[in-house]
């Protein structure tokens, strides 16, 4: 599993190819490739511009402000940060168990987030590549092109996302920057009218989610040569799993498996995550590289997100999604599937599960209850909140002093957990698709497709779907630019 192409032996004699930024991922990323005079690839690195420094920003702020404040970390999954921070602050105020109403409301909000994020990623960002091919005309390879060629698919994508956003608005108070999860519970329950508004559409949402799984499954199975091997690398994988080993996005214990699917650790209380995981800092990027301590830096990195979760759990509690999980596992043939493009398939299985869970919750009268706040217990000085965000495991870890101010914050976001894995996928693709010393559109497209499979949120807040310019830079061994290509 050690990475061959991370650091070249003699970088000074190599040619640098920079691909910057990667379009249609949130924020910015840059890929650099070093070549020798025989056009052999010596080094491939994915540089991610991540919003570091946020942890400093939180220090010195009151703990109850944090769940609202951290939503500014990410423009695309603020709810995940809201909930992970709230879970950490539950611990701070000594609450180990929420009231049933509060927990179900938080779950509903989280499933809404999962649905909207997965729908956005699949329909708006990825379906153009998957439906038209990675090398198809770039002017057509976007959601507008999908709407023209497959209007019904595009329409369902838009409405699935919109429904998820409605769930978020109703449960959190606002479409973005809601405030409803507070340390120890929730500040708002659902009215009957709000519940009924969601209920009238949910069956259609479940049906469309089922169709989405069929669509991606068909695309994948039709071309196993590409889908099973594109950018494929073997690795460990990790997620939280719920009660009985169920797939659970909101709560559970940490479980990690090796590349053969054997358990590395299981049942780990995430309050002690730092006994099992460490983060490595590398000189060439601000983004850290987490790894499983017991395996060390070289062997201990892992992947997170849909592909990890769907294969890490024992089963899924909702019937349609469980049926699809079994089919996926059968297709993989009894061994873990490591293909990055299988992220899309598993992402849609998760979307289906989220839709089914929303349906179940909407039939649960606890949602309408008024018992929203648990009684605070003994005040704690340190708390960890972990959630399975759309992109993978998200850690929020805080220390709070006797004056109620945060003194330490450590966040490991999903994209950081996937940092090494994404680098590996890019290396793999560069190796396979770079020929000669010319950076073709085809190579760019393939690298982007590999990165996009992980659904990274490279920095935060920009939503210029499909509009991000793409720049390629060729630099000679002395660092002089000899060629540049820009795509608007």
């Amino acid at each position: 599993m050690t990475s061959q192409l991370e650091t070249a032996q003699h970088p000074e004699r190599l040619r640098r190819v920079a691909i910057d930024p990667v379009s249609r991922v949130e924020g910015h990323g840059k890929v650099t490739i070093l070549l020798d005079e025989h056009n052999k690839v010596h080094q491939v690195r994915l540089h991610i511009v991540e919003f570091r420094g946020f942890e400093k920003f939180i220090q010195g702020r009151p703990y109850w402000e944090v769940p609202v404040m951290v939503q500014r970390l990410c423009g695309i999954c603020p709810v995940s940060h809201h909930l992970a921070a709230s879970k950490a602050m539950d611990i701070i105020v000594g609450v180990k168990k929420l009231t049933p109403t509060a927990e179900k409301l938080r779950r509903l909000m989280h499933y809404g987030q999962m649905l909207q994020s997965h729908a956005l990623h699949f329909f708006h960002l990825s379906s153009p590549d998957l439906l038209f091919g990675f090398d198809s005309d770039v002017t057509r390879r976007n959601i507008v092109g999908v709407a023209m060629a497959h209007p019904e698919i595009a329409r369902q994508g838009v409405l699935l996302r919109k429904f998820g956003q409605e769930v978020i608005r109703i449960t959190s108070g606002k479409r973005i920057h809601g405030t409803s999860a507070v340390p120890g519970g929730m500040n708002k329950s659902l009215s009957i009218a709000e519940r009924d508004e969601l209920l009238k559409d949910i069956y259609q949402i479940v049906a469309w989610s089922r169709d989405a799984v069929q669509l991606i499954k068909k695309v994948h199975i039709q071309d196993p040569g590409l889908y099973n091997s594109f950018g494929t690398f073997r690795s460990n994988y990790m997620s939280i799993v719920g009660h009985n080993g169920d797939l659970d996005f909101y709560h559970g214990k940490l479980r990690a498996r090796d590349d053969n699917g054997q358990i590395i650790f299981d049942g780990v209380d995430y309050q002690h995550y730092d006994r099992y995981l460490e983060e490595e800092v590398k000189s060439w990027t601000y983004m850290k590289f987490p790894f499983i301590s017991a395996l060390g830096k070289e062997q201990g990195w892992y992947k997170v997100g849909p592909l990890a979760r769907v294969q890490n759990c024992n089963q899924i509690s909702t019937p349609f999604a469980e049926h699809e999980r079994k089919e996926f596992v059968d297709y993989a043939g009894g061994a873990p599937m490591h293909a990055p493009l299988a992220y899309h398939w598993t992402r849609m299985i998760e979307m289906l599960h989220a839709a089914e869970e929303i349906k179940n919750l909407l039939h649960d009268d606890d949602l309408l209850g008024n018992d929203l706040m648990a009684t605070p217990g003994e005040r704690q000085w340190e708390g960890v909140g972990v959630i399975e965000a759309p992109r993978g495991t998200l850690f929020h870890h805080y220390r709070v002093d006797e004056n109620d101010m945060v003194t330490m914050a450590n966040l490991i976001v999903s994209t950081t957990n996937n940092n090494q894995a994404m680098n590996e996928a890019v290396r793999n693709v560069a190796h396979r698709y770079l020929h000669g010393r010319e950076v073709t559109d085809g190579l760019l497209n393939h690298i982007e497709v590999a990165i996009r499979a992980f659904d990274p949120c490279l920095s935060c807040a920009t939503h210029a779907l499909g509009k991000m310019p793409l720049e390629v830079e060729l630099v000679d061994p002395e660092g002089r630019q000899i060629d540049a290509l820009r795509r608007a």
């Binding site: 109850w64 402000e65 609202v68 404040m69 105020v93 405030t179 409803s180 004056n403 101010m405």
Partner: protein, 238 residues
């Protein structure tokens, strides 16, 4: 016969000794204000309440009404000036509404909405102002202080404790806590103090209560600030 004056073309009754602000408020007319509070002596410092009287500008919270006065209040010209003052207040401090627990209950934010402020317009100062979290039940986030002096007046005139003061001059003016250490914990500030209730923005805050009220049920979610008037306390009219 009751005495009357004209406010935006409407005849408004008033009583002897009343200010334009008091008479207008009693008549249900809104004049934007930040440092005025019906229970305290006017301070006349924020200038949000600036109106035009016979062509000249004056602060409605300090100006006494006289019979036959013609006052302009809700005009585009005055509101544009008020908007600029509000924008300056926003950039002088650190006001991050999306993560502020006073959001929805904040008079500065509500006033900005009322005036149609769409952006801060000016460059942010981004001052560095550490919070005071020393007190067991309250914390002071100086980042949001607009220097209205309401807490100063409340503590001095009602609580008789004199815990807060404005120190420095001009752009250097800032709120201080009257204790040798400068820390709220070293004063006898308490929950029952009037000064604990009056801050119009998110500076003097009750600990551990932020975000208890959901969006939709906060003060200014229910009605715009222009539709909400504080009842005038009897003693303030004297």
């Amino acid at each position: 016969m009751t005495q009357k004056f004209t406010l935006d073309g409407v005849l408004i009754p008033f009583e002897d000794g009343e200010t334009v602000m008091q008479a207008a408020t009693r008549a249900g007319k809104f004049i934007p204000h930040l440092c005025y509070h019906p229970e305290f002596k006017p301070h006349g410092s924020c200038k949000l309440c600036t109106v035009k009287v016979n062509g000249r500008q004056a602060a409605a919270c300090t100006l006494h009404v006289s019979s036959g006065m013609v006052v302009e209040n809700n005009t585009e010209e005055l509101n544009a000036e008020r908007r600029a003052l509000t924008q300056m207040l926003f950039v002088e401090g650190n006001h991050f509404c999306p993560s502020c627990e006073k959001s929805g209950n904040c008079q500065l934010q509500a006033t900005a909405y009322h005036l149609g402020m769409m952006s801060p317009h000016y460059d942010h100062f981004f001052p560095s102002r550490p919070v005071d979290a020393s007190h067991a039940d309250f914390f002071i986030d100086f980042n949001r202080c607009i220097l209205c002096s309401l807490c100063v007046r409340a503590s001095r005139d009602v609580d008789k404790k004199n815990i807060f003061a404005l120190s420095g001059r001009g752009i250097k003016t800032h709120l201080i806590v009257n204790a040798a250490s400068g820390r709220l914990a070293d004063t006898d500030f308490s929950l029952a103090d009037k000064a604990a209730q009056v801050c119009p923005v998110g500076v003097i805050l009750h600990k551990r209560q932020g975000f208890a009220v959901p969006i939709g049920e906060r003060t200014y979610d229910k009605a715009a600030i222009s539709a909400q008037h504080e009842p005038i306390a009897e003693e303030a009219l004297k």
